[in-house]
Every structure is written in structure tokens, then in C-alpha cells.
Amino acid sequence: MPTVKRSLRQLAEFLYLLARQELKARYKGRVLGYVWALAHTFALAFVYWIAFKIIMRLDMPNYSVYLIAGMFPWVWLSVGVTGATRSFVVNAPLVKEMGLAHAILPLSNVVQEMVHFILALPVVIAWVVLAGGYDAAVSWLWQIPLMLALQVAFVYPLALAFALINVYVREIEPLLGIGFPLLFFATPMVYPISIVPEPLHQYFELNPFHALMESWRSLFMAGALDLPRIAYAAGFAVAAGAVTWLLYRKLAPRVGELV
């Protein structure tokens, strides 16, 4: 099928342009835009803190750090996937001109959210150290990039898969809108796994999202990579990648028509 000819470097440049465009839009107020983007996630964490720590009297030391350390990666994941799901439909004229390279559009959603996450990291780390009394570790300099790569590998297959499915079954968008909050509560995010009854722990541990989020928390709060969970999350990323590849082969050719 004839398409515009591209190289990997050219696709990377295109990704860069898309990401820069989104950042300009999000942070157009400069400092104020940055503060606002952070404030949103902090506010969310604050609401859960009030609900669970104060009202429900959850007994957990450093609960605020537990929340924050998981919330930011989670927002990257959920906003990345829900944004990517719409990316073909919302950018229909673009999709019609791009040929099969349109697979880069969901990637740009994932990368944009990663950039927001990276920009938020100094504040997150400050919170972990100052509010939680944890030590910042030099090893984070290489461990954080590793986790970033893991999360991209984990999230992109999901992003692309849902973007493709959404073109055929438009209800996926609102379904994800319900699905993600459900997943959020099914995953130990606002509660530690310790309050889950012991016999159920194994089922919670099967949740790949839990493995990923717990790895982030382990990094910030224990200062170490949680290798078993990282391996599990990586395994899921590979499996998701394989399934998405099959979906792509089946669904991608007609996206230009249906979008």
C-alpha cells in the first residue's frame, strides 16, 4: 500500500513537534501553567487523604507520600491512555494524510504525559523527602529513567490498542471513563495492600497495574528497585505489545476510512 516514505528519525522529529505543541498549550502561562498542572494531582491526592486518613482513620504512616508517589505515575497512565484512545478520532484530517504512521499519535499522548511527569518529579521528590523524611538516593539518576522506559513500554501498547478499537467501536471512550476509576480502586492506590485480607493478596498481586505502581512507590519510599514486580510489569508490557501488534495488523488498514 503506497504511503509517505519516512525514517525512524523523521518519526522522532514528528513526535517532538507534537509534544512541543501540547506542552505549549498546557503550560502557556509559564510558571502558572506548571503550578496548575501539579496542583490538580496534588488536589486529588489531598481529597483522598482527607477521605481515608482523616475521615476513615486509615492507619498508615506516611500515607500522603504513599498517595503522591503512586498518584503521579497513575495520572500519566490514565490520562495517557484515555487521551490516546481519542487521538485518531480527534485528529481525523491528520490520520487521513499520514498513512500507517498514524500509530505515532497515541505514542505522542504517552510521551506528552511522561514529560508532564518528569516536570513534576522535582516537586514529587521534594514531597517524599521533606514530608516523608525519606532519603533521596543518587541511584535514582539511573533508576528513574529505567522506570520511565518501563512505563512507556507498558502504556503504549494499551494506548495504541484502545486508539485502534475506538475507531471501530466508539463506545470504548466512555467505557474507559468508567473503567479507569474502577481499576484505580481495584489497585492498591489509596490503600496499602496490607489492609486487604491475606487470602486475597495473590489476586491483587496478579494485577499488572499494581506491579507497576508499587515499583514506583518502592523506588521513592524504599529507595530500591522492586525487581520481581518490575519483571512482572515488563512481562505484561511484552504480552500487551504482542496483542497490540496483532490488533494493529487487523485494524490499522481501515482506520483512514472510518475515522
Binding site: M1, P2, T3, V4, K5, R6, R9, Q10, E13, F14, L17, Q21, A25, P93, L94, V95, K96, E97, M98, G99, L100, V167, Y168, V169, R170, E171, L175, P253, R254, G256, E257, L258
Partner: protein, 258 residues
Amino acid sequence: MTHAVLCEDLWKTYQRHRPLGVKSLLLGADPPRDTRFAREWALAEVGFQVPRGRSFGVIGPNGSGKTTLLSILLGTVQEDRGRVSLSGRVAPLLELGAGFHGDLTGRENVFLFGSILGVRLAEIRRRFENIAEFSELEGAIEQPLRTYSAGMIARLGFSTIIHSPADILLIDEVLAVGDASFQAKCHRALREFRARGGTLIIVSHNMKEVTEVCDEGICLDLGRVVDAGPMAGVAARYQERMAAAESGKIKASAHAYR
């Protein structure tokens, strides 16, 4: 002679591909038949060849399949039967402002569009002065695109593709938006493009323009090629048929011209 664009026995239907709702999936109902198109085949038995360096016009009434044909040539839509082959880099100008973003400036949109076309950023930077100059937008090129008129958007879009390193240009009815002097400028630029060995396929409703710019062409009606040959003849006969249909003397259907 190697052809730049080759199309053989092309067939395309839209009927199978309507997006399904969850309701149909769950209830097992038959997918609703796509009623966008009144006929089964959007394109049927379409074939033509365009040698390198030639310009080729596609004309026909609304709904005859012209845009579908261009989408298939570009590769965004897949043909159901037949063979399509293009040799060379393709640059499309299909919808006014497609791929352009209202919040970005003209300059930023040139880079974005260029990147969509597959051009490296360094290359776009090198050509930017020429693109800006050709568009005659001057200061407006630093303004956000949402402040542009349709004519300005057409100028920016055309200027970008004519300066891109493309071998084949696919243009769909966009030039009609520019004013007379800009259209003349475009025609000149397209002639220079062909002199460099570029191939052009243009869809137009403007018979004067299409006769001026194109050497050969086809006329589509209801998805079929009803006329082919030197552009002047194809355009003239099309106009006669339309005039006659207007006055109700002949029924302008594909049957008479198979």
C-alpha cells in the same frame, strides 16, 4: 517508460465498514448498512496511468468517487480489488487546513505539515524562507492560524507542498479557494514542478483550470471512468453532458458512456 502512477482495475466499496456500536455487537444484529453511499461500489473498474512529469486531471460530479480515488492513491484507504502503484514521494493537499492546528502560527504549521509529509526538520528549515515568500503572507505567518482566512490557509498549504521534496502531488479541489492572482501563481509553480520531473494529479471542478494545468485526465461518474484522454476533450465533453442534463435532454448516467 516507467509510470509515476499506475492504477489497474480498482474497486472500492464502503458498505462493509461502518463503525459498530456496542448495542449491535451485544445483540448480534447485522451491522447497519452504510447509507452514506447510494451505490454498492464507490469505485468500479477504475484504471489509468500517469507517466512521470505529466499532470493528470480527475473531474466528475459530486459523489462520483474522486476523493475516494485520491485517498486510495495516498494510501489512507485500501482498495478492495485491483492494483495501485506510485513511484516516488507523495505529498497530498486534500482538505483545506488538514493537519493544520489553529493555535499554532503559520510558521509552526509549516513545520508540522512538513513533518506530516515526512520531511526532516532541517530540510524544512532550509526551505522555509521560500515557502514564506511564495505564500505572500508576510507578517501573518507569525500569527496563529485561526486568524487566517480560507484563502490564506490555501496559500500556506500549497506553498508548503510545492516546496516539499515530493515527486507526486495529489491536490483535491483546494486551489479554488485562492484569488485569481494566486491561482495563476500556483499554475506557474505547478508547471515548473512538472518541468523538474514532478507528477501531478489534481481533482477540480474548475474546467478552465483543469484544462490549463492538466495534459490528460479522466472523468468519473458514479464510481466509473466514463471518459479518458487529453484533458481539453474530456473537460469539454463533461461540460456538454452537464449542460444537456440540466436541460433534461439526456440522462447523465454511466451507462451511456461505458
